[in-house]
Each structure stands twice: as structure tokens, then as C-alpha cells.
């Protein structure tokens, strides 16, 4: 069977992961105009990278690697400030209490809060939590991020605790 070309591969990836890429861009960029710009950068990088796709990893892993790497480069290029003002999961865990009253205010509010919270995380932790939220398991997250699987497992454990403490009540009530 003939392998799909660059354009076909891109179409397949965009059709399958377009919505996930939008969510990813939302988690990296607060401003709507810049978010659109970032999403276009991601699509451009994805199209260009599709010429090099060799099947050594799954298309999903490939797409997420391109998207995260482009988003991080975009952020560094725009801010020229590295990861200033960003926090790690460990720091969030040590400062965060149980969920507050706001968390019960509704699904949209919870998602807005969650997005804001992810935007404040350091890139690596952001990549882990986004992959987790997209339904990936520890092995898939390790393949995308390059973190050792033990590190991924620890981070997922933290993420679950934080989500349970902070957001789950709101998501539950909002259904």
C-alpha cells in the first residue's frame, strides 16, 4: 500500500487532532488573537513536519510533540523571558487548599479556571497535565515528553490529587 504524502498526512492529523490542538493552544495562550496565531503556527509546523514522518512513533505522539514544541518556542520567542513567573506542580500542591466556593459555579467556570491554572504551569508540567486531560496513559505521556516513566507516574498522582481537591466538585455539579 502506498504511504500517504505530506498533504494527505497533514489532512489526516488535522482532522483527527484539530480540536485537541485548539485545546492545547488555549492552554498555552490566554489572548484570543495570539492564540489564533499560535494555532496557525502549530498547523504550519505540523504540515512541514509531515514531510518527515517516518512511522517510528504513532501519529498521535508525533502531532503532540510538534504542537508542544511549537507552542513552547512560540512562548519563548514572544516573551523572551523563559519560564519566569511560572510554577511547578509541586509548588501548586504545596500552596493549594481544598476547592473553594467558586469551583462549584459551573462547568464553564471550572474549565476557565483549569485553563488559567494550566497556563501558569512550567512547560513540562503543562505538557504532562494536558496529555493527561486528553486521556493519555503514563507510557504515552513519557513518549511525548521524554520524562522518565517514574517521573510521569508521580506527576499524574499529583495532578489527580490537585484536580480532586480543586476542580472536581464544580465539574460534577455542572453536568
Amino acid at each position: 500500500m502506498e504511504e500517504p504524502g505530506q498533504d494527505e498526512r497533514y489532512h489526516q492529523a488535522a482532522a483527527e487532532y484539530g480540536a485537541a490542538l485548539e485545546r492545547l493552544a488555549r492552554a498555552y495562550e490566554f489572548d484570543a488573537e495570539r492564540r489564533r496565531d499560535l494555532l496557525q503556527e502549530i498547523h504550519l509546523a505540523l504540515w512541514r513536519s509531515c514531510a518527515m514522518f517516518d512511522g517510528r512513533c504513532s501519529l498521535r505522539t508525533w502531532v503532540y510533540r510538534v504542537a508542544h514544541n511549537t507552542a513552547v518556542s512560540y512562548g519563548i520567542g514572544r516573551r523572551r523571558s523563559g519560564d519566569r513567573n511560572l510554577v511547578s506542580l509541586e509548588e501548586v500542591e504545596s500552596t493549594m487548599g481544598d476547592h473553594d466556593g467558586d469551583a462549584a459555579a459551573g462547568r464553564r467556570h471550572v474549565l476557565a479556571q483549569l485553563t488559567q491554572w494550566i497556563q501558569a504551569l512550567k512547560p513540562l508540567d503543562r505538557q504532562v497535565i494536558l496529555s493527561y486531560l486528553e486521556g493519555m496513559d503514563a507510557a504515552a505521556i513519557a513518549e511525548i515528553t521524554g520524562l522518565a516513566s517514574g517521573n510521569v507516574a508521580t506527576k499524574i498522582h499529583r495532578i489527580k490529587n490537585l484536580l480532586a481537591k480543586r476542580f472536581s466538585q464544580g465539574a460534577h455539579h455542572a453536568e
Partner: protein, 193 residues
């Protein structure tokens, strides 16, 4: 409680999307805009080199002392060497299209390593080639200044000191920057293990 994070995951995955897509035509347009951007960035660097070459070329014609003329020619050669280095390195600075060939940590680490290497080596390929020419030029112009010898000596010394301090500062700042990047690189390497 155990299922609650799953509800969050579900809420995340089912949030409404705007359905933003890009046609291949749009993508190609954006790709060529990126190429133009890279071309202009390189052109600006070459233009700066061209200005140096032209200015010192004029000095070669106008300055009466042999030593300053030799210094001007040496500076021009140094500037052309810098242009060659920019040309040689330009290809490695374009197109981050291979962003998926490695995982995110590896990609991020390599970006930092590239920045670190650039900071470490800028002194060698960007500044050092200009030093001999500038030194000879400064000495050559100071020699003929219509002032007493000791003032000539003093002026030359001050000019050398100013140039030396500027170059030292640039080298020092680059070294500090490279060291900071190295710390981040080491941190990332630990996470990969």
C-alpha cells in the same frame, strides 16, 4: 472521589471547539512568509557587515598613515570572515520543522544547548576576528595625532582600554548567560533519566 478526575478529563475533552482549520493554500502562504522573514533577518546581518566594509574601505582611501590603512584592511577582512560565519551558521538556525523527531524534553534541551553554544562561541567567531584590525587601526590613527607624544600615548591607551572593556563585558555577559543555560540543561537531563 476516584472517578472525579475522570469527570474533569471528560469536561476538558468535550469543551466546545471553534473548529479553526487552515487550508493548504493558507499554510503555504504562511510558510513562504516565514522564509521571507528568515531572508530579511539574514539580510540585516549582512547589511551591518557591508556598512563596516564600506566605512573601512573609505578609510583605506582617505587616511594618510600606512598603519591605519593596514588596520582598515584587516578590519574589512575580519568583517568578511564574520559574514562567512553567519552564512555557514544560517542554515542551522532556520526551520524548526523537525520538532517531532524527538520528545519535548529533548527538543527543549537541544534548543537551550544551541543557545548556550551560540553564547559561548560568539566571542570566537563574531568579535575576535575584528580585534586585530581595530587594534592596528587605533594605534595607526593615534600615531599621527597632532598632539605631544605622551598625550598620544595616553589617548591610545584610553582607546584600547575602552575597546578592551567593551569586549570583556560582552564576553563576560555571554559566559554568565551560558552558565545559566547550562544549569537548565543539566536539570532537563536529570528529568530524562
Amino acid at each position: 472521589m476516584p472517578n472525579e478526575p475522570d469527570e474533569i478529563r471528560n469536561a476538558w475533552q468535550t469543551q466546545p471547539a471553534e473548529g479553526i482549520t487552515m487550508s493548504l493554500e493558507e499554510i503555504r502562504r504562511r510558510a513562504s512568509r516565514f522564509q521571507r522573514h528568515v531572508w530579511w533577518r539574514n539580510a540585516r546581518e549582512y547589511l551591518a557587515i557591508a556598512v563596516v566594509v564600506v566605512v573601512f574601505g573609505v578609510y583605506v582611501q582617505r587616511i594618510p598613515t600606512q598603519m591605519a590603512r593596514v588596520g582598515s584592511v584587516m578590519t574589512m577582512v575580519g568583517a568578511l570572515y564574520v559574514a562567512y560565519q553567519i552564512h555557514r551558521r544560517a542554515s542551522s538556525r532556520t526551520a524548526p520543522a523537525g520538532g517531532a523527531l524527538d520528545h519535548c524534553l529533548g527538543f527543549h534541551r537541544r534548543q537551550l544547548e544551541r543557545q548556550r553554544d551560540a553564547l559561548k562561541s560568539v566571542w570566537v567567531w563574531y568579535l575576535a576576528p575584528l580585534v586585530p584590525g581595530l587594534a592596528v587601526f587605533i594605534a595607526g590613527t593615534a600615531i599621527v595625532a597632532p598632539i605631544p607624544f605622551r598625550y598620544r600615548l595616553l589617548t591610545t591607551g584610553i582607546m584600547f582600554a575602552v575597546v578592551a572593556v567593551v569586549f570583556w563585558l560582552v564576553a563576560k555577559l555571554n559566559k554568565i548567560g551560558a552558565r545559566r543555560l547550562q544549569a537548565k540543561i543539566d536539570e532537563l537531563r536529570e528529568l530524562e533519566q
